[in-house]
């Protein structure tokens, strides 16, 4: 509609520009802007209609970012740490929406840890992106709950508390799609994002996204330089959209020979292809994933990739046995029971 005749368009006839949002007001070089760009690219590439997407966020730098992508999608900038409950309500009211939640480490790991974990428990279908920089930006440099143990910052002094690992928290809470990435690795972010959108439950992407203003010293595990030098992908990841692969009913992870490729087939027929890098990492092994994450934390390793995958648990909409038609679209005659029903009820109270 807004596209010019000679512009390149995707399968739904939209140009890249149709997926853009307002101009970012974040600091120049902020990792969050890079993630916003990947969201725009992915939505364009996958030819998702903007009205099928809703963007949700809490409060903070990260949570401002949904204004900077997908301007034609509905959005809700909720309360600090409370995006999951708003998302749960909205997506129960309309299960046909594809939801992208954007939060930060303060919003998720500090004030919002409770709602984050309960959303995983309920397995609400949503891509939950944590733009993790270990620091509060808008209030000028306090530690968040993901800050490094013993780290020193100009404003906040020394951090005497261990970091919360959101991937560990997600797995423990029952999340079936848990990934970690780095905003400095746009390709991996994109592939994970595509796969996450195909997951039929909550998909957590914990993306280390450096704060160039308050937490970008070389010794910080949330800095660009540290990320660039230390990122240790568990595998190379590629997403293959449905239609490019034959539809499958069951989700299985094929065995593969060492050094080869592991394929995760998803419910909607898409595939995640994981090419082994150096370790033999199995993302379907829960205990293995927990162990690997704990080890990474102890050793200050920056492992990235699809850390845990399990699609066996039904989503909240499935558990609730909701119809495909959005509840929000129910016509009046389905909303209000008949006079006969009221008469029967009244008789029972007599």
């Amino acid at each position: 509609m807004t596209t010019k005749a000679n512009e390149r368009v995707n399968a739904v006839g939209l140009a890249y520009a149709d997926y853009k949002g307002g101009a970012s007001t974040l600091c120049k070089g902020c990792g969050h802007d890079s993630i916003s760009s990947q969201i725009i690219s992915v939505a364009y590439e996958l030819s998702i209609e903007p009205h099928e997407i809703v963007k949700l966020s809490g409060i903070g730098c990260s949570s401002k970012s949904p204004a900077y992508f997908l301007g034609r999608s509905f959005g809700f900038n909720a309360l600090h740490g409370r995006m999951p409950s708003v998302a749960t309500g909205a997506l129960t009211a309309n299960r046909s929406l594809l939801a992208i939640g954007v939060s930060g480490d303060g919003d998720t790991a500090s004030i919002g840890l409770g709602q984050f974990k309960h959303m995983m428990r309920r397995n609400v279908r949503m891509v939950y992106i944590v733009e993790n920089n270990g620091v509060y930006g808008l209030t000028k440099g306090q530690f968040s709950a993901t800050a490094d143990y013993g780290q020193e910052l100009k404003y906040a002094g020394r951090n005497d508390f261990p970091p919360a690992d959101l991937c560990l928290e997600a797995i423990i809470a029952g999340c079936g799609f848990v990934a970690r990435s780095f905003s400095g690795d746009p390709k991996q972010v994109r592939e994970l994002l595509k796969a996450a959108l195909s997951h039929r439950g909550t998909a957590v992407l914990d993306i280390i996204s450096p704060c160039v203003t308050f937490n970008n010293r070389d010794d910080s595990t949330k800095s660009y330089s540290w990320g660039k030098e230390n990122q240790d992908p568990l595998h190379e990841i590629a997403f293959v959209a449905p239609g490019f692969v034959p539809e499958q009913e069951e989700i299985v992870i094929d065995d593969y020979e060492p050094g080869e490729m592991r394929t995760v087939k998803m419910h909607d027929g898409s595939q995640i292809q994981l090419r082994k890098v150096e370790h033999d990492y199995d993302p379907t092994d829960k205990m293995g994933a927990l162990q690997r994450l704990q080890m990474a934390q102890d050793e200050r390793e920056f492992i990235t990739g699809l850390i845990y995958y399990d699609s066996s648990r039904p989503s909240l909409a499935e558990v609730s046995n909701l119809p495909a038609e959005p509840l929000a679209a129910l016509p009046a005659e389905k909303l209000r029971p008949s006079p006969e029903t009221l008469r029967e009820m009244m008789a029972a109270f007599g």
């Binding site: 807004t2 307002g22 034609r72 959005g75 909720a78 309360l79 409370r82 009211a93 119809p323 009244m346």
Partner: protein, 594 residues
């Protein structure tokens, strides 16, 4: 002098022994005899062991307020028997467990000892069932002594057990045994009795929470998210009893509603706000402590203009307060809930009929005004059983407010543009769109931050100012939409009583008693906030105005003074705050004292 159909009975038992079944059987049996009744459960915040008192009032005049005394005592709790006996008025009746030693019997009341254990042995009731069946013992004795028909007791038990015959028979066996024993062994020496009347025909007996649940259901509720808290829990329980069944597609088994137990009240109201934004009718039910926790979200919904319905079944605060006692103490908090300049629409039901009606009204107003609506019930209304006419089917269709389809957005875009918060009609209410609307200009970004009429982030002073002024304008629209007060004026009255909620019953009775004593009082019952013109006019007409409410500070009185500063000096608070419902006697004394 025989007192027929005009007294109150109190049943003292220990909590958790199953006495509620027995008490409700007595209440419903009296109701089925055509005698106006009201039951009030004065219970502890406890699962088992602490004392509980169930008050049943019979009144041929139809009064349903709490009575200042209870003339008939069923003393079945040894822990409180001393104070229970002491509380009886002279000439009262004490039915007690004769197995106890040292019951402090008074000689100015009629005492009837019932050998409870003997019956339980006879009926061969053992173990856990013993405590439970002990309650049926007093049902049998009370039925015989007061003249309650056994047939009606059986009907009431059949109702209670949902027709499960074996349970009914088991219970009735004990009731009959004691009923017959009492007839043979006890000579009735007191003055209190009931006789069948024909004053409850065609009526129902229902709790306010059940009525509210039905109201919400007939108002189209689609998502309920909640966190358990006394005394609101039974409201959601009742929704759960009906809604999923009504919304279940018999062919596919799919259920077009959701009732979600949240992890706390923040999440409960958060889900409601999310669902309201997405276009579903969503509500939560809570009480004071939950309201405190919901504050931030209610402020967001006010500012981002999202419909939400919140039932506050009030208990006594501040803090945890008295979780199982009643009050009207949340009115100021609810009216201004949130930081910054916030004001909310409050509905103030006084009867189970209004609980049903406001179940729908709340959704209509929330969607028409695109704002949270709080319905201020209370424990007395919510958890106790009240007589009522069967509820009428809603006469009006659901009012969904200003929601644009994609085609309607297109029309607006063609004619100059669409902005979510543009005040097109001058009533302060913009046109909203719902997620999923596929017009490219339909989407907006809902936010709690400053924004332009087009919902774009803005820190411009003019934008902020204009938006807040529009919200104030919207509140003026609300004034005209909310249910008006119910006004009953008496010729020559010098007193004007102003009240809301469940003090209605005590006020009705007090006005009757005052009229007999030659004191005329008019009455205005508010059914909503904000107030409208009728309220000002009523207040203008009287010199002595008493604002009756169940809290310490006279909260509604303060709100009225703020809204009508020129009339403020006329308003006098008359407050009652001890956790118990108002009695007519207290009110009459308070009014006559001045």
């Amino acid at each position: 002098m025989t007192v027929t159909n005009d007294f109150s009975m109190v049943v003292a038992t220990a909590n958790g022994t199953g006495s509620q079944t027995a008490n409700l059987a007595l209440l419903r049996a009296l109701f089925k005899m055509g005698i106006p009744v009201n039951g009030k459960n004065i219970f502890p915040s406890n699962i088992q062991g602490l004392p509980t008192w169930y008050h049943i009032r019979v009144s041929y005049e139809g009064f349903t307020a709490r009575r200042h005394t209870s003339e008939v005592l069923v003393a079945f709790n040894q822990a409180t028997v001393k104070e229970d006996v002491a509380a009886l008025p002279a000439g009262g009746v004490c039915i007690y467990n004769d197995d106890w030693r040292d019951v402090p019997l008074r000689d100015d009341v009629t005492n009837y000892g019932i050998p409870v254990n003997t019956f339980l042995r006879q009926a061969d009731v053992r173990g856990k069932l013993r405590d439970y069946m002990a309650n049926m013992v007093y049902v049998g004795a009370v039925a015989q002594l007061l003249g309650i028909s056994l047939e009606k007791i059986e009907e009431a038990l059949t109702f209670h057990f949902g027709g499960r015959e074996k349970l009914v028979t088991q219970n009735m066996d004990i009731v009959r045994l004691v009923y017959d024993w009492t007839a043979e062994n006890i000579e009735k020496r007191d003055d209190y009795a009931v006789e069948a009347l024909d004053l409850t025909g065609g009526q129902i007996l229902v709790t306010g929470n059940e009525a509210a649940a039905l109201g919400a259901i007939f108002g189209g509720v689609t998502l309920v998210s909640w966190y358990p808290i006394t005394p609101s829990t039974s409201l959601v329980d009742a929704i759960n009893d009906y809604l999923p069944r009504l919304r279940r597609d018999s062919e596919t088994g799919e259920v077009s509603c959701a009732v979600i137990q949240a992890e706390d009240e923040l999440a409960a109201v958060g889900m409601v706000v999310g669902a309201g934004w997405a276009g579903a009718r969503a509500m939560t039910a809570t009480s004071g402590p939950g309201i405190s926790l919901m504050t931030e979200f209610v402020g967001l919904a006010y500012f981002a203009e999202i419909p939400a319905v919140i039932w506050d079944v009030q208990r006594v605060g501040p803090s945890t307060g008295l979780p199982t006692r009643t009050s009207q103490g949340d009115i100021i908090a609810a009216y201004f809930l949130g930081h910054g300049d916030t004001k909310h629409v409050l509905l103030l039901p006084a009867t189970v009929g209004e609980c049903f009606e406001f179940g729908t009204t709340a959704f209509d107003l929330a969607e028409q005004l695109q704002t949270p609506v709080l319905v201020m019930s209370d424990l007395d209304l919510g958890m106790n059983n009240w007589m009522a006419k069967p509820f009428d089917y809603p006469a009006e269709p659901l009012r969904r407010g200003k929601v644009l389809t994609a085609a309607e957005v297109a029309e607006r875009v063609k004619n100059g543009g669409y902005g979510r918060y543009v005040d097109v009609d001058g009533d302060g209410i913009g046109y909203r769109t719902l997620p999923g609307n596929d017009h490219p200009r339909a989407a907006y970004f809902a936010r709690g931050t400053g924004h332009t009429p087009q919902a774009v982030y803005s820190e411009r002073p003019e934008d902020w100012h204009e938006n807040m002024e529009r919200l104030a304008r919207k509140f003026e629209t609300a004034r005209q939409l909310v249910p008006p007060p119910v006004i009953d004026e008496v010729d020559g009255a010098e007193i004007g009583i102003i009240a809301y909620g469940t003090s209605l019953d005590a006020i009705t009775e007090a006005r009757y008693r005052l009229a007999k004593a030659g004191v005329k009082a008019s009455f205005m019952r508010l059914r909503a906030l904000p107030i409208n013109g009728d309220v000002r006019d009523f207040i203008s007409r009287y010199d002595r105005l008493l604002v009756v409410e169940l809290n310490r500070d006279g909260q509604l009185c303060e709100i009225l003074k703020m809204e009508l500063p020129d009339l403020a000096t006329k308003l006098q608070p008359l407050t009652h705050s001890d956790g118990l419902p108002l009695t007519a006697r207290w009110l009459v004394d308070a009014i006559q004292k001045d």
